[in-house]
């Protein structure tokens, strides 16, 4: 860290020199603080921007792409779906309850300030081993933070995922997703375009909390990080609920020309980004800002990350109307800003100029070129030898169903109100993706978040592609056409060449898959520095992908439960000996290495298209993608969820000459298990053949509660359904207490 004008900054000396050059003067304390925040990795994406350019960002459905507070896609009939994902890893790692809660608060504001009504939340979470007391503490309070905040603001938490892996022991990953809905003409942008417009700051008062939250998030965690706890903001869901109601009412007046929330970087970020986007400047008079306590310095006011604040750029004619609505909801407000044509952010205190920086300099930081180098572990781990096959594969299946990464997450989602809003058509645990209806229409959207960090660690390219593929598969499983994705890229320190290589490869894989899938990436977030100085360990690369799809009719919804005894079970897609990073290797053999699953992108797209076509023809009564735990786990889950047994014969699908355990537990991509009525079976198989999709009739749904898997004359798995169910349901509660 460097000290400039008595201020501690994270800027490197060469960055500081560049800032002086661009500014044409030596910045004072306030100015250097503003630059420091805006050039932090968190706000500026200075390391990731050159790589993120690889991702496809446009398409016929895209209304707003990256660079806005959230992505927006056209879902037809005049509606747009708005969605965004963000990380709140650093704050949650040291203060799980408020860290997670304010993560939810921030992501809701991102959706709201696009002019959309937030209608759903999802929470992809990653922790260290569930056997570690610290991880359980983090898990418990992160979930409680999300629940208390989300439940109170009245936005249902409809999905997410939980992954446990030792690499997240010191750095848990808390990603938060919000989905909103708006009419196309209701979308508002974060811009200050018209000189003379006034900037109204509304909601929470400005205090000393959260100062330097973003620079804190742009560092690795150290033993002293506990001392950064004051950098974690405190959430207030009650005020947030009032802000949501008030904002939606204010937007209806038509006086709002621009809107942005105050998140990371506080007033500095909101004002400079809006001014820059509108090609204007902004003047801010700090004495007008409503403060929580007296005596805040200009530096503190400009950098405070106090929660629950919005900045409205308003036509002067509408000020009375807008403030009237804020008064109705009892929300404090002030009018500290005015849009100018100077192109500069000018900060005044009682009329005296205390800082002046071009908006563009703040909003568009210089890029940092990072070195990328393939880490040596990649090739070493590939050489891992195949372990011996355990004798009792039934026992292995039970063990896998009980593994914390596969076990039921009801303990989590039971604490979330997943139904408020009256839109949750497919709820937590009922299918691979959540389905939300559009009120008053027969239309719906489906969302799912996915990532397999174990795969990514071994093969970042295919891991990245696989995250996109799996999210799209999950959305397709409920009958929705995937339209677009947003991503949250959680990595270690980008200044290290091996971490940056992981990052680059992952994004490359994702972008290839996005192109083939025709699902552009409309927004996202990069979270670097997820490693700590104590263990010197970075998290496994975790590109969390959220796919959003549209269902033209809610009558087409498919879930994962078997509907009738006697229905035929069909596997789509081939199984390969790709055991690296599998839950089977991790749980049963404690092996980290091996060959991770590859994504055959064209096959993936073809298979998803085929599934959607077969659904349209109403051939499919249940669908589930094969991922963690492989074929055997996917089949078991469908059985457990429907309380119906099944019989299947696996020799029909062994095209690659796999060993039994590989056939059962490989996590190869591009596979689905579907159920179909006997009368549709031939049609389904024929259609698959004509589309070039591998499909085999494996077996049937039976009434007796058993799962029996045969290979020719050998019974390789024979399990009691109740035993599997018990194993699957009891793991998380037994670790966490009721």
């Amino acid at each position: 860290m460097t000290i400039v004008e008595g201020v501690q900054v994270d800027l490197k000396p060469e960055e500081l020199n560049q800032a002086v050059k661009m500014l044409g003067k030596k910045p004072n304390a306030v100015e250097v603080g503003m630059i420091d925040v805006m050039w932090s990795e968190h706000c500026s994406y200075k390391s990731s921007r050159p790589i993120l350019k690889l991702l496809p960002v446009s398409g016929p459905r895209v209304v707003c792409g990256p660079g806005n507070d959230a992505g927006a896609v056209d879902i037809g009939d005049g509606y747009v779906a708005v969605f965004k994902i963000e990380s709140h890893n650093h704050p949650s790692a040291i203060e799980p309850y408020n860290g997670a809660a304010t993560g939810i608060g921030g992501i809701i504001r991102d959706i709201l300030c696009m002019g959309a009504r937030p209608i759903a939340l999802l929470d992809p979470l990653r922790f260290g081993s569930i056997r570690s007391p610290r991880s359980r503490w983090l898990f418990k309070y992160v979930v409680k933070g999300i629940a208390d905040y989300g439940n109170c603001v009245g936005i249902p938490t409809v999905g997410g995922e939980v992954e446990f892996d030792e690499s997240f022991e010191s750095n848990c990953l808390v990603n938060v997703v919000c989905v909103g809905i708006a009419k196309r003409d209701e979308i508002v942008l974060a811009e200050a375009k018209y000189p003379g417009d006034l900037a109204i700051l509304a909601g929470g008062s400005t205090g000393r909390d959260g100062i330097h939250g973003v620079t804190f998030a742009s560092r690795t965690l150290t033993e002293e990080s506990e001392e950064d706890r004051p950098a974690v903001q405190v959430g207030d869901p009650f005020t947030k609920k009032l802000i949501i109601d008030a904002t939606l009412e204010i937007l209806k007046t038509g006086y709002v020309h621009g809107l942005k929330d105050l998140g990371g970087g506080g007033l500095t970020c909101a004002s400079s980004e809006m001014a820059n986007k509108g090609g204007r400047g902004i003047d801010i008079e700090l004495s007008k800002v409503h403060l929580r306590e007296k005596g805040l310095s200009p530096f503190e006011i400009m950098l405070s990350e106090s929660q629950e604040r919005m900045l409205f750029i308003v036509d002067p004619k509408g000020v009375e109307t807008v403030t009237g609505i804020l008064d109705k909801y009892g929300l404090p407000w002030s009018i500290p800003g005015k849009v100018t044509d100077s192109k500069n952010v000018r900060v005044f205190l009682d009329g005296l100029l205390v800082a002046e920086v071009p908006a563009k300099l703040l909003a568009e930081s210089p890029i940092m070129e990072r070195k990328a180098e393939k880490p040596s572990y990649i090739d070493e781990l590939k050489k891992t030898e195949r372990p011996q096959m355990p004798k009792d594969l039934s026992e292995v299946l039970v063990q896998l169903m009980a593994s914390e990464n596969i076990a039921s997450k009801e303990w989590v989602y039971r604490q979330y109100d997943h139904e408020v809003g009256a839109r949750s058509v497919v709820k937590c645990g009922e299918a691979d993706a959540a389905v939300l209806r559009i009120l008053g229409e027969d239309k719906g959207i489906a969302v799912s978040s996915d990532c397999n960090s174990k795969h990514c660690y071994l093969d970042p390219f295919n891991g990245g592609a696989g995250a996109v593929a799996e999210a799209c598969r999950n959305v397709a499983c409920v009958g929705a056409v995937p339209l677009a994705i947003v991503d949250c890229l959680n990595f270690g320190n980008p200044e290290k060449a091996d971490v940056f290589w992981q990052f680059k490869e992952t994004v490359r894989g994702m972008s290839e898959m996005c192109k083939v899938m025709q699902t552009p990436c409309v927004g996202g977030n990069v979270s670097f520095y997820n490693e700590d100085e104590v263990t010197k360990k970075a998290v496994k690369p975790s590109p969390v992908v959220v796919a959003l799809g549209v269902l033209e009719s809610l009558k087409d919804v498919v879930t994962l439960t078997f509907k009738n005894v006697g229905d035929c079970i069909v596997l789509l897609g081939k199984t390969f000996p790709e055991m690296g990073g599998s839950e089977y290797y991790y749980t049963v053999h404690h092996i980290e290495g091996g060959i991770a699953p590859k994504v055959d992108m064209k096959t993936e797209k073809k298979t998803i298209d085929f599934l959607l076509l077969a659904m349209k023809k109403r051939y499919i009564s249940a669908a589930h993608d094969c991922s963690k735990g492989g074929l055997a786990v996917a089949l078991s889950l469908m059985s457990v969820k429907s309380n119906l047994g099944l019989e299947a014969e696996l020799q029909k699908i062994n095209t690659e000459n796999l060993r039994y355990d590989e056939l059962l537990f490989s996590e190869s991509h591009s596979r689905f298990i579907v159920a179909t009525k006997k009368s549709h079976l031939d049609n389904l198989l024929e259609l698959a053949k004509s589309r070039g999709v591998f499909a085999r009739h494996l077996g049937n749904v039976i009434s007796s509660p058993r799962i029996t898997l045969r290979y020719e004359d050998n019974e390789i798995v024979n399990c009691d359904l109740m035993e599997i169910k018990q194993a699957w349901e009891s793991t998380i509660p037994s670790h966490m207490g009721l």
Partner: protein
């Protein structure tokens, strides 16, 4: 026929309730900001779920002192139907329109899940379209839903037929397994002596359309249809 849904700061099931009343039941329904409630004239009123005043102090207690509740009490006295759902139930208890208290769930966490209810009183303003002993499916979503009262009062309430809904299994038996939050005597909903004021923890507005129900049921709608019936018959 005009029905009000009161929005307190922090109410969050207000829009869902209005949606169901308007679009599923087909009633003229107004969403009323709590400060403006006294200006209107309504045939019935619904206090929706949510976290009024952020559950500060105790769930429902601050809203109970809102001026809007004075008018609600008058309406209750006039015999007009008054319904409290979830946080609305908590408000009715805190304003002493209904007897008892709603304590923290015995599992000490928020619970969101579908439960089974048995109808114990089919004569109230919100159950007159049901049959005694009928089994209903509805979801709950709350932190403080454990109904409590002293046993003497509960016996009295039972004698006066004031227990409206109880958590049960599909056969109508009151088991501890079917009791999601530890409520005394499996009580999920109660009414006043006259039966025009009803409070319940489950959410009928989330259970009024088959598309939202895992059982493809619409039992919640019966609550609102009963209300329509009661308004037509002057509150009964």
């Amino acid at each position: 026929m005009r029905v009000a849904v009161i929005r307190f700061p922090g109410s969050n099931c207000d829009l869902d309730t209005v949606y169901v009343l308007r679009n599923v039941v087909g009633l003229e329904t107004e969403l009323v900001w709590h400060k403006h409630f006294n200006d209107g004239d309504f045939d019935a009123v619904v206090l929706p779920g949510g976290f009024s005043y952020g559950d500060a102090l105790r769930a429902g207690v601050i809203a109970a002192y809102s001026p809007a509740m004075k008018r609600v009490k008058e309406m209750a006295k006039e015999g007009k139907p008054v319904l409290g759902i979830c946080n609305g139930f908590q408000i009715l208890v805190e304003s002493e329109l209904l007897s008892g208290a709603l304590l923290r769930n015995d599992c000490l966490t928020f619970i969101c899940k579908w439960v089974t209810l048995r109808v114990d009183n089919d004569k109230t303003a919100f159950t007159n379209m049901m049959k005694k002993g009928q089994i209903l499916k509805m979801p709950i979503a709350h932190n403080e839903g454990r109904y409590y009262n002293d046993m003497e009062t509960i016996r009295e309430m039972e004698e006066n037929n004031q227990i409206v809904f109880r958590y049960s299994n599909d056969n109508g038996e009151l088991t501890s397994q079917s009791n999601p939050n530890g409520s005394l005597e499996n009580i999920a909903g109660i009414c006043n002596l006259e039966g025009n004021v009803v409070g319940l923890m489950p959410h009928p507005e989330r259970a009024s359309e088959p598309i939202l129900s895992p059982f493809k049921t619409d039992h919640g709608k019966l609550v609102f249809e009963s209300m329509v019936n009661a308004i037509r018959n002057g509150g009964k």
